[in-house]
């Protein structure tokens, strides 16, 4: 069956099931050739258009260009212009917000968890449900947590592009010197503490046992909060979970590590980041994201090991976060933009990303290239974690309470305020902010 008739059939099927997307809420009616409502049909191959694609990572630009080349094999007359904006200091988001106010957002652009609801629920994006019902994008191709991340207000907004999960990296050499066994997937929090203490004691605090990056939650306290049975935000994104007993246990874990001298102090961790402690051989074990695999391997070679996170009282779950490709609501080329976004969600595009090795692509089954990219390291663990991971905690105004986290929690980790008090304070502030959304 040729592609076009299949899609038309699928579209009819979608409409008849009442799943056809309506674009009534987000009109994109300035000129352009697009159909505004109803089923999605892949545009004709010789559609002529120029669209802009905004990204923020210079390390991924070569891969993006390759993907565009692949896209142009199907749509030779759609020109895609990459716009690179730095991510440092939130510059990308300042720019996107400015462009949005000027109704001048790029046609297609990278989106992340913290900002998806902000843009989507404020009518800045084009819903992609019609792509789904037309079969151009299949939700089952991506980890469920990611699909949930990019669903808001009952609509689907972003095609998952890649994902990150968290693992436990270790320095075999340092562990051997301290007479400590290498971590395995059956380790628990207590194992971390005991063995971490042995390392710190053996090296007399010139080398630390275990740490995580406490300047943000993704590679540290979010995970331990989940592992102790708590959560950061309720699944409906309306209530803070910081004051739950499990959450407090998860936070206490880090305060205990610092107090026992297993981890560098809070002052040390903010002036020298955890990954730098690890890379310089001054930290034996670190909880970090999969993006560190290549750099750590470059630093340590065979001396590097990685394993799943250790089990807390309830599980060894971690958070999963990934970028998505979204379309601006005010795009003047909705057809071309949708065709491009659909292509970005295909296995071909995912394989290009996998080969480039910078990120783990979101398309299920395309990641084996990445998983096998470093002989000697079982990177499959990151992929396995994705299946059971919890979606990155977000809400409509995520950045607001993210700021509260980094305002209030450092004092708790440093032992200056009791963890339970800080957690309650944070929960109250967070709930107040969530109520305003």
């Amino acid at each position: 069956m040729d592609r076009r008739s299949f899609l038309s059939l699928a579209a009819l099927g979608g409409v008849s099931l009442g799943l056809g997307a309506t674009l009534a809420g987000c009109s994109s009616s300035q000129g352009g050739t697009g159909s505004q409502s109803g089923a999605y049909k892949a545009p004709s191959k010789d559609l002529k258009a120029t669209i802009s694609y905004a990204i923020w990572d210079v390390n991924q630009q070569p891969a993006m260009e390759k993907i565009i080349a692949g896209f142009n094999k199907i749509y030779p007359n759609i020109k895609v212009n990459i716009q690179l904006t730095p991510s440092t200091g939130g510059a990308y988001w300042t720019k996107m917000t400015t462009l949005a106010q000027g109704k001048n957002l790029p046609d297609v652009f990278w989106m992340n968890g913290p900002h998806i609801q902000l843009f989507a629920l404020n009518n800045q994006l084009l819903p992609l449900d019609d792509l789904v019902t037309a079969g151009a994008v299949k939700k089952t191709n991506y980890p469920k947590a990611l699909v949930d991340l990019y669903t808001a207000g009952g609509k689907f907004w972003g095609v998952p592009k890649d994902f990150d999960t968290i693992g436990l990296y270790y320095n075999k050499d340092l562990l051997a010197k301290a007479g400590v066994p290498e971590p395995t997937s059956s380790w628990t929090w207590d194992d971390i503490k005991t063995n971490g203490k042995k390392v710190s004691d053996h090296f007399n605090k010139s080398v630390f046992g275990f740490a995580g990056d406490l300047t943000g939650g993704q590679t540290s306290w979010y995970n331990t909060m989940l592992q102790a049975g708590g959560y950061i935000i309720s699944p409906d994104h309306k209530k803070s979970g910081y004051d739950l007993p499990g959450s407090i246990k998860g936070l206490q874990f880090w305060a205990d590590l610092i107090e026992a001298g297993i981890s560098p102090s809070m002052q040390q961790l903010t002036t020298t980041l955890a990954n730098d402690w690890f890379t310089s051989g001054k930290l034996a074990m670190v909880m970090d994201g999969d993006w560190e695999t290549a750099p750590y391997h470059q630093a340590f070679g065979d001396n590097l090991g990685v394993v799943e996170l250790s089990k807390g009282p309830k599980s060894n779950q971690c958070v999963i976060h990934g970028l998505g490709n979204v379309i601006s609501a005010t795009t003047k080329q909705p057809d071309a933009a949708r065709a491009f976004v659909a292509y970005l969600g295909t296995k071909d595009a995912a394989l290009v990303q996998a080969e480039a090795g910078v990120v783990i692509p979101a398309f299920n089954g395309s990641q084996t290239v990445w998983a096998k990219s470093i002989p000697g390291l079982e990177l499959q663990l990151f992929l396995d974690e994705a299946k059971v991971a919890s979606p990155y905690p977000i809400s409509k105004n995520t950045s607001a309470w993210n700021q509260f986290e980094t305002d209030i929690l450092p004092a708790a980790f440093a032992g200056q305020t009791p963890v339970a008090t800080a957690a309650k304070q944070l929960a109250d502030k967070m709930n107040a902010a969530l109520a305003k959304e």
Binding site: T88, G89, G90, W93, T94, T97, A100, Q101, L118, N122, Q124, L214, T215, G216, M266, Q267, Q268, T270, T271, T272, N397, S399, A400, N402, Q403, T406, D407, L409, P410, A411, A414, Q416, A433
Partner: protein, 316 residues
């Protein structure tokens, strides 16, 4: 020795000539020329700068949606402003920072007068050396200074350890962090101050010094009685700019302290709070109120300085 001719001249310049010339000029009209001279600047400033300020002022009485749209809320933002505990502390932090950076002015004056000494060799070298920090890109500067102030591995603490002092975690300890940031601010602004003061120094006629020398005045005496008084317009300018820029402290703070920093409450500047409210809390209406507050503070400080200038600034 009694006051030299040069000092008398400088003194007279300060008081005498102003009076006689003013009388003369009142008799002659300037015609439309003043307006022709200022209209281009006025127009551009009005379009690109005053309009945003007016808009900010208006928005400070509203709640603003992230992507536009505002609802009038009256004085709610200002009420919040006066009860927000962060604000007074951040104003204090910014003031301390500014005072430390102001110390750079006497340093710049001293350095400039040494460099501009007649017959001084290697002037170009010195000017370049002191000017270089002003030329570097702020992003790179922040990274380098973070490493310099690093509590575990930075050179400053290493030097201190040589004399037996255990240096603090500069950028993560309250108090020390503000000092560290201010030192960098001073370092960066020294070049700027030096340029202005040097230009002002070159305005001073050599003959005044020569006459003073003939009268037997020491170098320091000359400095005190000729250089400093005639330099006061430049000093005034540099003071105003230091205060204005000091209250704009943000980028440096952001780069040097980073996130989750224990010292942040005792270091954050008022513009940092503004940025937080505007772009992170997405509370633009409240941020506009903060912006107007900053404007008010700096305006008052500047107006005070302008008032006081009559006492000590000598326009020839």
């Amino acid at each position: 020795m009694s006051t030299s001719t040069a000092e008398v001249t400088a003194e007279a310049a300060r008081t005498g000539s102003a009076r006689s010339s003013a009388g003369l000029r009142r008799l002659l009209p300037d015609g439309p020329w003043p307006w022709i001279f200022i209209v281009p600047t006025l127009f551009g400033v009005a379009v690109f700068y005053l309009w945003p300020i007016v808009k900010t002022f208006y928005l400070s009485f509203t709640t603003v949606g992230v992507f536009g749209g505002s609802t009038f809320t009256g004085l709610a933002n200002y009420a919040q402003l006066f009860t927000d505990p962060q604000i007074p502390r951040s104003i204090l932090n910014t003031a301390i920072y500014t005072v430390i950076v102001l110390l750079g002015i006497p340093i710049a004056i001293g350095l400039a007068s040494l460099i501009e000494r007649p017959g001084m060799r290697f002037r170009t070298l010195y000017r370049t050396l002191y000017f270089i920090p002003y030329v570097t890109m702020p992003a790179a500067v922040g990274i380098v200074w973070r490493l310099i102030f690093n509590g575990d591995f930075g050179p400053i603490n290493w030097l201190l350890s040589l004399v037996g002092i255990k240096g603090p975690y500069w950028l993560a300890t309250p108090g020390f962090a503000l000092v560290a940031v201010a030192i960098v601010g001073l370092w960066m602004s020294l070049g700027f101050n030096l340029i202005i003061i040097s230009a002002g120094l070159r305005e001073i006629p050599q003959e005044l010094y020569e006459a003073a020398q003939v009268d037997g005045a020491s170098r320091f005496r000359q400095f005190r009685s000729i250089t400093v008084p005639l330099l006061t317009p430049s000093i005034f300018f540099v003071m105003i700019m230091t205060v204005v820029n000091g209250f704009q402290l943000f980028d440096l703070l952001y780069v040097m302290l980073g996130k989750a920093n224990l010292a942040m409450p005792q270091t954050q500047s008022i513009v940092y709070i503004f940025y937080n409210e505007a772009f992170i809390q997405n509370n633009q209406g409240y941020a506009c109120a903060i912006g107007i507050l900053i404007l008010a503070i700096i305006a008052v400080l500047t107006a005070v300085q302008f008032r006081l200038q009559r006492r000590w600034v000598n326009y020839v």
